[in-house]
Point group: C2
Chain length 677, copies 2
Amino acid sequence: MAFHPRKTRDYGCWLNYERLPKGLWQRYSGQFSTVSVRNAGGLAPAIEEELKRGLEGLLGQSPRLVEDLEAAAVTVCAPGDEADTGGEESFRLRVQEDQGQLKVSITSAGERGLLYGTFAFLRALQLGQIAGGFESADGPRTPLRLLNHWDNLDGSIERGYAGRSIFFQDNRLVEDLDRVRDYARLLASIGINGVVVNNVNVSREATELIGSKVGMVKTLAAIFRVYGIRLFLSINFASPLEFGLDTADPVNSQVQNWWKERAAKLYAEIPDLGGFLVKADSEHRPGPFTYGRTHVEGANMLAEALKPFGGVVIWRCFVYNCQQDWRDTKTDRARAAYDHFQPLDGRFADNAVLQIKNGPVDFQVREPVSPLFGGLERTNQILELQITQEYTGQQRHLCYLVPMWKEVLDFDTYARGPGSTVARIVTGSVFPMHWSGIAGVANVGSDPNWTGHTLAQANLYGYGRLAWDPGLPTEQITREWVVLTFGHEPAVVQTVEDLLLGSWETYENYTVPLGIGWMCNPGHHFGPSPEGYEFSRWGTYHRADCTAIGVDRSVKRGTGYAGQYRPENARLYESVQTCPEELLLFFHRIPYTHVLKSGKTLIQHIYDTHFEGVEQVEQMIEKWKQIEEKVDPETFAHVLQRLEEQLEHAREWCDVINTYFYRFTHIPDAQGRKIYP
Amino acid sequence: MAFHPRKTRDYGCWLNYERLPKGLWQRYSGQFSTVSVRNAGGLAPAIEEELKRGLEGLLGQSPRLVEDLEAAAVTVCAPGDEADTGGEESFRLRVQEDQGQLKVSITSAGERGLLYGTFAFLRALQLGQIAGGFESADGPRTPLRLLNHWDNLDGSIERGYAGRSIFFQDNRLVEDLDRVRDYARLLASIGINGVVVNNVNVSREATELIGSKVGMVKTLAAIFRVYGIRLFLSINFASPLEFGLDTADPVNSQVQNWWKERAAKLYAEIPDLGGFLVKADSEHRPGPFTYGRTHVEGANMLAEALKPFGGVVIWRCFVYNCQQDWRDTKTDRARAAYDHFQPLDGRFADNAVLQIKNGPVDFQVREPVSPLFGGLERTNQILELQITQEYTGQQRHLCYLVPMWKEVLDFDTYARGPGSTVARIVTGSVFPMHWSGIAGVANVGSDPNWTGHTLAQANLYGYGRLAWDPGLPTEQITREWVVLTFGHEPAVVQTVEDLLLGSWETYENYTVPLGIGWMCNPGHHFGPSPEGYEFSRWGTYHRADCTAIGVDRSVKRGTGYAGQYRPENARLYESVQTCPEELLLFFHRIPYTHVLKSGKTLIQHIYDTHFEGVEQVEQMIEKWKQIEEKVDPETFAHVLQRLEEQLEHAREWCDVINTYFYRFTHIPDAQGRKIYP
């Protein structure tokens, strides 16, 4: 008999709806016994099912569905008076108390708003916030809240660390499509409204998703539709060649017509298809450069084809020379995205959107924010984050990314003066945009707990919440997830929050110092290899020698990358004295004997942070062990095993990095700790 | 229409039998017009066909087959008076002249001797050696002259650089079995008498070669049999588990009986099966260690099963800890084979044979000879060489390995006093053995020219000739191959010989200095990555730092590896002063400022050899270009393209290695050449 993942507790994630603790249960017992859902269209079944599951789970009583809105204790109804709250995805949640009876009203101008309001109600209920007079008007700050799956049709996942694809296997759909529905529900509960189901590196098989395999797309779209989620496809820019044309030149009218016809066929099958995601002219993917055309010509050709159907084309800015020669010190990969796309500002179609990675290189544990944010004023744009932990421990290490993402979102670009944060740019508040938002590279797979490491579920949850509202504080998101997942027990809440909130810094401590990046093993990117990328073609060099490390990216003496920022930031990064120290080795070449603000030399800082990182993991294990009795045994054992593995890996990172620098310098540790020669 | 490789000239290798040049043609024209083959058994068709093809090709006249031995110009007949020449594989080739007519007689005590004699006659004819009074009594010095194929059943080849498997694809036999026959003929022409057709890393599919897929083995064996070659199989030591037993413990009588029954079934199908090759307890392969048993118990159990049928079990000595911790400086992988197997000397069965890699580590461009040669006195043993160029340029670089192999074979172990060379050990002349010989890991695949690089055919040819007679001089082997492949044109002969004979030293010059090894990219092993293996689990560390490089393997201060040799060599290797300099960094840790016998410092030696290596490749290209008019245009263009690629790669090696050491030392090149910082 096959193992049934849905039997495990961790499969439920933050939607287990376990019985409320006694105090809350007493407060709410007997309430919410009737439910009425009106005008929710295709989402009505999902809303009704969720209320039943939620209330039955939390309170132990199944509510009755009634027709009469007035008589119901919980009413979910559109349209309400929500014209002011920002559209069909927003909702108003109000609680009134009348003679001890709570009456909950969820209203919205649209069906999706009702669904989001329903999840918000159940969340607030679990957090103990529901009470007479409670009122919340909420809505997403961004129209595009996307997950990007790098799933291949054979079932493998590029940079996937939680099993196989939950969509595809052997070039077909998986058999267990119920799991896709469960996934859609998880995503809807955090407000995700679009999913790109296939890898941006589009294989020959996946190219057929817009051809002979369109039935697979239709099936998946129907499942996601039940939860108000639109499906997007990664497409192969060279598709016309695969389908018999002899060119994919975007200015060729045959090619243009081919895409128009193809779009019409697709939308005839999937009328609410979100659109296309495109990785073009990047890492050997085809694109307009092949024909001497620009990104604008490429993207706008596709935008034109999608326009009649309301679709958008999302065009990735991850474009750089991946055939660099390490001997070439002039070319700087960090500059590439800005150099390629900033000059094209204002030339993209209304329904074309640029997707920009948070940093200029590639999801390292520490990078500055991409200068394209603030550099593009007249272009639809979304931020790309990586939820899957490619460079941050691959879900074998705990690394909670919400604090990192918050730093990105809170980064002030100064594009329209102080306060022009990335958060305000991707919500369209700094520059007007037709489309804006956030995309995250998914961290889920066929593992029973979805994310490999159960605590990595917090990254998915946190991502969704930030995509909904980039202004949410880290603490609130973290508290929500912990309580929804582990319940209210204070020791558990405190411990899990501590583990999560310290984990990014800890991971950074024992891995790659001060923004230098790329000291990982080539290819799979797991574990330390200080020179793993030093002589490769990928343009990611730290150029360590016996005296110094780092690449000078200043304008005056270096590659000029610092000058891609607005003056306020450019000035800051330009000088060693003012550059934020956590990014010092990203922007400057620094001698090992350079004294940091802490009074320590760079080399001693490296030694100290590495030893400290290992100690922090040891402490994490101790903390976790203290709540053994208060956590589901299976979850406890699983997390403990991961943490113990993390400790072993942290020691390996610490020792390799310290040895690497010791071999260059022969400078001993000031505290005399063990550094292997 | 599929491309037909047999139409290309390079497909024919050294057996193209092109028309002899005018002088020789005139000498032999009209000769050898009749041929008589007698008592050649199953090999008669191959012999007759070869004489026809050879004489027709070389002289333009097809000989007639006649019955009457007395009347024939060429007679091939067993048994002769060959009792003194060493058995059924030996032959006597005699040429008499009578009134201008040459009469050739090839005799042997066995069928295989007749086949080898036939090829020897045709070779001598092409070399212009056939004349009245010519007489040659020749025979193989070794009973086992094997090729090991690391071919997987899916058609991939581990460490294959010449296309896909010529035997397998998609877990079946290839369709083009004619090519296997052509391959058998090539091998027979150089005296190979056994072929292991599948990878020593035996997959689940390949395990079935002794089960449901035995038909595939039978088919291949029948093809090889036509050329007197016996087929061997790599087997999975844990096979019994795959076939339903719950253990593979070699002392378990069920397991023993299972292997006996399995052997009986196999020999019922393939009565001349050579036996098994086993990689056990090595790199995660199963073996007797799983059950707390020894290599002796494992090997002898299989030997017992094969004994009734005359089969042998060949047991690889490539056993070491592949989960080493780089922090562990006590464990020395170089010691492993000797430490594992020397204590077992004298305990293996008569039909068990140890297969020992030439060096203690793994086919690096420069290694000392394995101390097991000379260390094992009472054990059947064969030398394992790697013809496929895993660490020596992967058939994209020219690296002619015969000079390296000759150094190995000429190495004096002093096991029975001076002159106890490896050559004399593997021919059974130092210690008596039931079985001895040489195995080579094959370098062929489905590429039209068999070996990827056409000049890499010389490695296959040279390997076969050395397996036949380890005493053959490099110059003779090289001359033979060049003339048989390219003809007699002096400029071509001189140039190709120059290219071949200098290529190993050149490759060493621009890659890894003085025996240090392992500065290649992990996994695929192509191109430079000086620290690619420095923090890995494979036990291959050079431990370079800012002052020195190398591992001390002396007895006095180091890992003691040097002490595994007989005293004469142990003394030599023990001291920096007496250690041969080409192995200095294998045996010692040396400061960059150490002065070599040349008067140069180590660091300057590294710089000089690397620049020199690049210049040598430039010169190779110039030399090759000078014979453009005298070489087949397709071959010329192909080799030129490879050499130009080699030059680019040589520059990359040179620059990476020089930069790597410069970054440690900041010592400039004495000649001021460009070293990238």
